[in-house]
């Protein structure tokens, strides 16, 4: 029987040792290890693995970069895993070509089951990570829609809105753009009309959603 060749790519020796010790007890797996992207490339140069378990933080550039490199060289099923991943991390891994995403806190039985599932064509993704990914996809849709709506604005209106989103007052915006306060007010009115938004605050929120900008902390001084 041909054994499923599994690459465990993790910079933490003890973690690789744990996975290796577990999977070597199973007769259907053969394990190879790597502790960095260079090491992964060395392994795949010899023979492409069937499945690669890749740490999200694998040096030097992270697991997502490794997934992309592997996709160019092999038809390996790639699974990224990490502790407490963010929804954006899960989405980035899947968008880069990963076939699944797992928690590193997975039980030994769960890992064996997930790997056997991959061989059967399943995509390993725990329930909470699936929810995270759906949330991330919704966020992405929202951002795309907002960006499309923002195309109705002129370049100057975009500049004004950018400053509004940073918390600047009309007087400050006028100073930054070297225009009159009256012109700023007119731009803001046009922005609200074009985007069909009720207030300056709503416009700022819209802009932050469209361009993924964090809200300025309340204590921070608005733009100088």
């Amino acid at each position: 029987m041909r054994r499923t060749r599994i690459l465990v790519a993790d910079s933490l020796h003890i973690f690789r040792a744990g996975v290796k010790n577990l999977l070597e007890r199973e007769s259907d797996f053969a394990i190879v290890e790597a502790d960095s992207l260079d090491d992964v490339l060395r392994v795949v140069h010899q023979e492409c693995p069937d499945i690669a378990l890749i740490d999200l933080e694998l040096p030097p550039s992270g697991g997502v970069a490794v997934v992309q490199e592997l996709a160019q060289r092999c038809s390996t099923y790639t699974i990224v895993w990490s502790f407490e991943p963010s929804r954006d991390a899960v989405l980035a891994a899947v968008r880069s070509g990963a076939h699944g995403f797992l928690h590193k806190e997975i039980s030994p039985e769960g890992l064996v089951r997930a790997l056997r599932g991959v061989v059967q064509g399943e995509a390993p993704l725990s329930r909470d990570l699936a929810s995270l990914m759906i949330e991330a996809l919704h966020g992405l849709d929202e951002r795309t829609n907002a960006r499309e709506r923002a195309t109705v604005l002129s370049a100057r209106e975009r500049e004004v809105l950018d400053l509004v989103a940073q918390g600047a007052r009309n007087k400050q915006i006028a100073a930054v753009l070297t225009i009159s306060e009256f012109t700023v007010k007119r731009h803001v009115q046009n922005i609200l009309k074009k985007l069909e938004l009720p207030s300056r605050k709503a416009a700022a929120t819209f802009y932050r959603t469209a361009f993924g900008i964090e809200e300025a902390p309340a204590a921070a001084a608005p733009i100088a």
Binding site: S11, L12, H13, I14, F15, A17, G18, V19, N21, L22, F83, K104, E105, I106, S107, P108, L111
Partner: protein
């Protein structure tokens, strides 16, 4: 009476309690400590002291701050080696004589470093060394 005397199967190997919230770590530790009887438990569940009082291990290994804190009091009281493997911080710490010491040369916790520290501490304890 020590733990080995309590065990009905006559196993004279030292008993090491491993409390891991990352179960794959327990796999690595079990393989590294081939000279010991390793009992893995889910970590971070609370009442670490109660578990250790019941088990009476010869050494303790934990992987969470919470278990490390709870186990430290028990380890000090019973003069037990206690190791804290922090995978997120990539550190290995030994609780010895009431203080935590960092182990290793920056390569993070490895099966070899864990084996060496546990074996060394158990030997020292058995031999009555300080």
């Amino acid at each position: 009476m020590n733990t080995t005397e309590l065990r009905p199967d006559g196993d004279r190997r030292p008993l090491v309690a491993v409390l891991c919230s990352v179960p794959l770590l327990a796999e690595a530790v079990s393989a590294a400590l081939e000279f010991a009887e390793v009992r893995p438990f889910s970590g971070g569940r609370g009442d670490t002291t109660g578990l250790l009082r019941w088990l009476r291990p010869d050494a303790v290994i934990v992987d969470s701050d919470r278990d490390a804190q709870e186990a430290a009091a028990f380890a000090q009281e019973h003069d037990l080696p206690l190791l804290h493997i922090s995978v997120r911080e990539r550190e290995l710490r030994l609780f010895h004589r009431g203080t935590w010491e960092f182990i290793g040369n920056g390569e993070g916790p490895t099966p070899e470093s864990i084996r060496n520290v546990v074996a060394g501490m158990l030997f020292a304890r058995e031999a009555g060394l300080p």
